[in-house]
Symmetry: C2
Subunit: 444 residues, 2 copies
């Protein structure tokens, strides 16, 4: 009998864990198609942006992770089309198109940043979704101090030393905390014309509290800790405009204020991969405001029990956009495929088991919510450390990561603060070219 062809789209948590769950099955031929060659450990992206970790530590090669899984192959490509009738996936890499047929499909293409319909904000306040984003932000954050050192007026220096983080979810809180640590500790002695410790860090959110998903108590605790570090927390504040040199914020009472700031970070809002909308349209499923597809309780698309969607792309039971939802969804989908191949009945509907959530605020301080238990401060930070070390992929990355954390948390240093011209300006150049930039394969 021919092997059962499984195609997995995406190398994030959902894609990787569903692939690994089918390891060892000789009756499966799995193809993982992803637009990057790495698996991205997104929860630590903020540490790449702030110079603690290297790219390699949070973005191991997908091929390397799957090298010993003989039934899996990996191909590079951005999926542009899923043909539900023909059961094929079309992927594009530069100017080459590949069509891959499937018997079962797991779609785990994740979500990108959303600027809530204001895509022109992106150039001035980049998001935090990819290694390229993190490296660009690393460049912007460290360069802001360089520009300040060269500034010719105190006003310019102050605007360069004003950092605004939009969005007070875990990523925003972690970014604001790290920029504070950078300015207060790491860079304190590095400049001669400016005082890095005078940097102003503003954390904005339209919501009435920090870390809404963690509940009021932990939100207040996180806010107090951020404020003790010198972060200005502004809640009920909506961003109405962003440009190169600052942004305009509207308070809950309708008053508007302009903040001069060279370095803005956008950590608010996500938008599911456009594949969710495509699948919804073609299957008649609903779509929510964040572009997520309303899947059936078994994570499949209406009328297509062979097509699973997992992770950030789905709208189901108000699940949060966290790694565990993708991991458990990916494993669930793999188990249903295995059940069918083995002639076992399907499991019941997908149920998410909440293992808790956590966010670091600074070194030695975090908040964690695990079931009914809530932790903050040092205990939460130790929990955070332990959990993240377990989930970092590969022994070698665990050792270097632990060492880099020692450098940054016990010491004042940042091992990975290298900034290059291209990392800082590549996006600007590519955006300026727009459709005129069409790199091709070398042999095209």
């Amino acid at each position: 009998m021919a092997a059962h062809r499984v195609v997995v789209i995406g190398s994030g948590f959902g894609g990787l864990f569903s692939t690994q769950a089918l390891r060892g099955r000789g009756d499966v031929e799995l193809t993982l198609i992803a637009k990057t060659t790495h698996h991205l450990f997104q929860p630590l992206l903020y540490q790449v942006a702030t110079g603690i970790l290297s790219e390699g530590e949070i973005a191991p090669s997908t091929r390397e992770v799957l090298a010993r899984q003989d039934n899996a192959r990996v191909i590079l490509g951005t999926v542009t089309e899923i043909d539900l009738e023909a059961r094929t996936v079309t992927s594009v890499v530069l100017d080459q198109t590949t069509v891959t047929p499937y018997d079962s499909l797991v779609v785990a293409a994740g979500a990108g940043q959303s600027w809530f319909g204001n895509d022109h904000f992106a150039a001035h306040a980049p998001g935090m979704k990819s290694i390229d984003d993190a490296l660009e932000l690393r460049g912007r954050i460290f360069s802001a101090f360089e520009w300040a050192e060269l500034a010719t007026t105190p006003e310019d220096a102050a605007a360069y030393l004003t950092f605004v983080v939009v969005g007070a979810g875990p990523t925003g809180v972690e970014m604001a905390g790290q920029i504070a640590e950078l300015s207060r500790r790491t860079l304190a002695r590095d400049f001669r014309s400016i005082d890095p410790t005078s940097a102003r860090i503003i954390l904005l959110d339209a919501a009435p509290q920090v870390l809404p998903a963690f509940g009021e108590g932990l939100g207040a605790s996180a806010q107090a800790r951020l404020e003790a570090m010198g972060v200005e927390v502004r809640l009920g504040a909506r961003v109405v405009d962003v440009d190169e040199s600052g942004l305009v914020v509207e308070s809950a009472n309708g008053t508007r204020e302009r903040i001069e700031s060279a370095c803005k970070v956008w950590a608010a809002g996500v938008q599911a991969s456009p594949l969710a909308a495509q699948l919804a349209e073609r299957s008649g499923a609903g779509l929510d405001r964040a572009g997520r597809i309303e899947v059936l309780p078994d994570l499949t698309v209406p009328g297509h029990p062979e097509v699973f969607v997992v992770g950030d792309m789905i709208s189901l039971n108000q699940l949060p956009g966290v790694a565990q939802v993708a991991i458990q969804g990916g494993r669930y989908a793999a188990r249903q495929i295995a059940n069918r191949l083995d002639g076992r009945p399907a499991d019941g509907p997908f149920t998410y088991r909440d293992k808790g959530s956590m966010a670091t605020i600074s070194r030695f301080s975090a908040v964690a919510s695990i079931g009914r238990l809530q932790f903050s401060g040092f205990v939460a930070w130790v929990l955070w450390l332990a959990v993240h070390l377990v989930y970092i992929i590969g022994f070698k990355h665990r050792v270097t990561t632990l060492l880099h954390w020692a450098v940054s948390f016990l010491g004042r240093g940042r091992s990975e603060r290298t900034v290059t011209h291209r990392q800082l300006f590549a996006r600007a150049a590519m955006e300026q070219l727009g459709d005129d930039f069409r790199p091709t394969l070398p042999l095209s």
Copy 2:
């Protein structure tokens, strides 16, 4: 008395070591101007390109290195003009220009890659002079295997799996050796459609031997070891054309051959910073074919005893373009400045003390030439390991570097093989825009 203003141009070995040699002098006010925010440990650039080390490990922040040197400030900028009469240095960062006056000047702006008048080769065969170069090459090398996996014909796959390194000096030898290790060991199990171990690696040079600076014996030894690893070494071979999909090589006997190859690395030839030509023209000093200025025996420019030039920019006694020449030159220049300030007579002419040279070929194998002693194989490799660990800056980088070497040399892995879209295509986008790409400061 007003402090003596020293300006140092460049954060490479010459600039950094001359700056550090003036540490603790309260009568000196030193400004280091460099076009990157990092010191680059160039001899290990090939390890960033081939996924062994992260950028941070070989490119520590110059500010961090100099944070505790109170008499030194660091500013970011590309020096465009040295006014020998007004004694000022003009530097540019994006659209901002800064003029810095000096009493003494140390010019250590280094050298860039030279394509021997064929600058159009650069787009197809990038050089190896900066972190951006190394990351672009990392992208090209690892991506070549990705393109091969997706190739639709065996000819295309073969061309993607053909790597050509031009230039058989230390950098070229090290790159060829590492690409061989990558294909034979690291990637051996990672692909399903192609066999990475079948990759063809060609090392070309117009010279009649590998590693000419190491003498015939070590050259032959390095060549034998490379060939044992499966590297094709072609000597007396001149590159006459390079394009997107391959290159044309002319043998010593005048016959030409085209080699289909998607990934080419240019490790041949250097060209001194254009500041050398500017200084030569303004001072009447000579200039050699590599654009290096003929300085006086005390490393100063004719008629300007306050202006020192060190490292790769100078033409003096046929000194090689190695780190030690820059380090010793930088220290010598700093000592002459100190002598004058202290009213001591000048030292004699600059004399270079050859501490030897070494090049790795593969894990556990290197060649080293130290005075009259010559080593090859494992002994030379242990020497290489020890010397490089000593020169890596900072304890934290030494520990992670040693760990990354263990991963790659004892194991098969590469910890830092992350490739991103921007890293691979940023240069192409910027070159396509040319003068139309003019990023400005955020507050401009």
